[in-house]
Amino acid sequence: MKALYSLFAVCSLMFAACSDNKPVELYNTKAALPSSPKYNLDGLKVITSFVNKTKGTASTLYGNDQALKSAIDGNKTVGTNEVFTLVTWKQQDDDHWFGAKIPSDIESVEVIKTTSSGNSVAVNYQQLNGKSLDLKADTSGQSERIKYILGQKPSVLP
């Protein structure tokens, strides 16, 4: 009887060892976007998504309805109340699929907001860096970034 019990114990141990006991990682915690009053993705839609293989980064450009509409029209004119937000992550290998890369640590969040100022449109740009979303103080190069972001062709989403 004793032998039977120990056999039983060994068997259940073996089963425990065989059954999947790797922890299940449900979320991509590395790539999580910090919640902050500095930016807001709620209600924004995907305009496009792109990667830079040399830098190993993945980006998604979001926009509100006005921004999406302008982007589809080629941003020929800049309207008011448009919000563009470009989120850039570092990439990591996808643990679930050999052959894929997914977002990793957040690199930057760039926010463009257009407002009316008198008869013209004011374009405001902010760059928030890293997980702590530090506002980049240096404003040189801003117009280039605005041009780059507004120059993105939307993804075909039929």
Binding site: L41, K53, A100, I102, V156, P158
Partner: protein, 322 residues
């Protein structure tokens, strides 16, 4: 004393009879054997010798027309299981009829194969427990991975690719792709146009097949993510995964080119109980042509590849919270 010695032989005889009957039954069922023929090889897998050797040794018993059954495989009832595995294995993936697949599909099956090995799903664990020689070692796996990695090339898009993407874009931009009647897949799932207004939960760069993807979640899915209730996902949650061809520019940025397809997974543990609790559908090109045509069995392709993710409710994507 006399009683005891009398009883024992009787008891023994009973057991003997039972064993005899069982053995006779065992012998009888040996004749109930489904046929496992080896059909002709129409075009075998072509790969470097070391790569092919691993696949032949580990996979060919179930995924080729060169099945090599050992004597212990031929004993019923083990044989019944073996025969059904071979039948299903061959139907889903047959390295002896490799030439029947388009080059892109051949590549796809190889990447899928390596991923099934990494996930521990293939070769079937019950099979390697007996056929220990079929196990894929870490060194074997490295051979396969290196081979696949050597097939990955990334170069700036040529004009033909750029032009095709441009044409499609202009069509879409002018709203010419709008669809009046929703196409429906063989399993009754219709194209859901609203997916583009959902929230993206992740993106992937797939260097195995040169695509970029965005995975969208509907409101129920997004709410479940926020509330940490995705294990299992709630009924009503829907994912839409969009794939585009990669379009690499000269500066090293890779953009979304031609739209290829949108795929859905719709959670309903009752309605879709037979397909892991999810309803599956894929619609190709901006015309949203249902994948699989009239054949509802297209879903086994989806479920076979998603099966190793059983512990994650068959979902690959790890959502990004915000």
């Amino acid at each position: 004393m006399a009683m005891k010695t009398n009883r024992k032989p009787l008891y023994r005889r009973k057991a003997f009879l039972i064993i005899l009957i069982l053995f006779a039954g065992f012998l009888c069922i040996q004749f109930m054997r489904p046929d496992v023929p080896n059909p002709p090889v129409t075009g075998d897998l072509e790969a470097p010798a070391d790569v092919k050797a691993v696949i032949q040794r580990a996979c060919y018993d179930c995924h080729s027309n060169n099945t090599n059954l050992r004597w212990y495989d031929k004993i019923v009832p083990i044989y019944w299981g073996v025969a059904s595995h071979i039948k299903q294995g061959r139907a889903d993936l047959n390295f002896s009829e490799w030439n029947r697949l388009a080059p892109a599909d051949q590549k796809g099956k190889l990447w899928e194969s390596v991923n099934q090995i990494i996930a521990g799903a293939m070769p079937l664990p019950g099979y390697t427990a007996v056929h220990t020689g079929a196990k894929v070692s870490a060194a074997d796996l490295a051979v396969l991975k290196n081979y696949l990695a050597s097939m990955v090339h990334s170069k700036p898009a040529d004009t033909a690719v750029i032009n095709a993407a441009d044409r499609q874009y202009q069509h879409w931009q002018k709203n010419k792709t709008a669809i009046s009647k929703l196409p429906t897949a063989a399993n009754g799932i219709s194209y859901i146009p609203d997916y583009k207004n959902w929230q993206p939960i992740s993106t992937t760069e797939r260097f195995d097949n040169n695509t970029l993807r965005v995975i969208f979640g509907n409101d129920i899915a997004v709410k479940a993510i926020k509330e940490n209730k995705i294990h299992p996902w709630p009924n009503g949650a829907i994912f839409a995964k969009v794939a585009w061809a990669q379009l690499q520019d000269k500066d090293g940025t890779t953009h979304t080119g031609e739209f290829k397809q949108v795929e859905y997974m719709i959670k309903d543990d009752k309605k879709y109980a037979s397909t892991f609790g999810w309803g599956w559908a894929r619609f190709k090109t901006p015309k949203m042509v249902p994948y699989g045509g009239a054949n509802v069995m297209f879903t086994t392709e989806c479920t076979n590849c998603h099966k190793p993710m059983a512990a994650e409710d068959f979902v690959f994507t790890q959502p990004i919270k915000h």
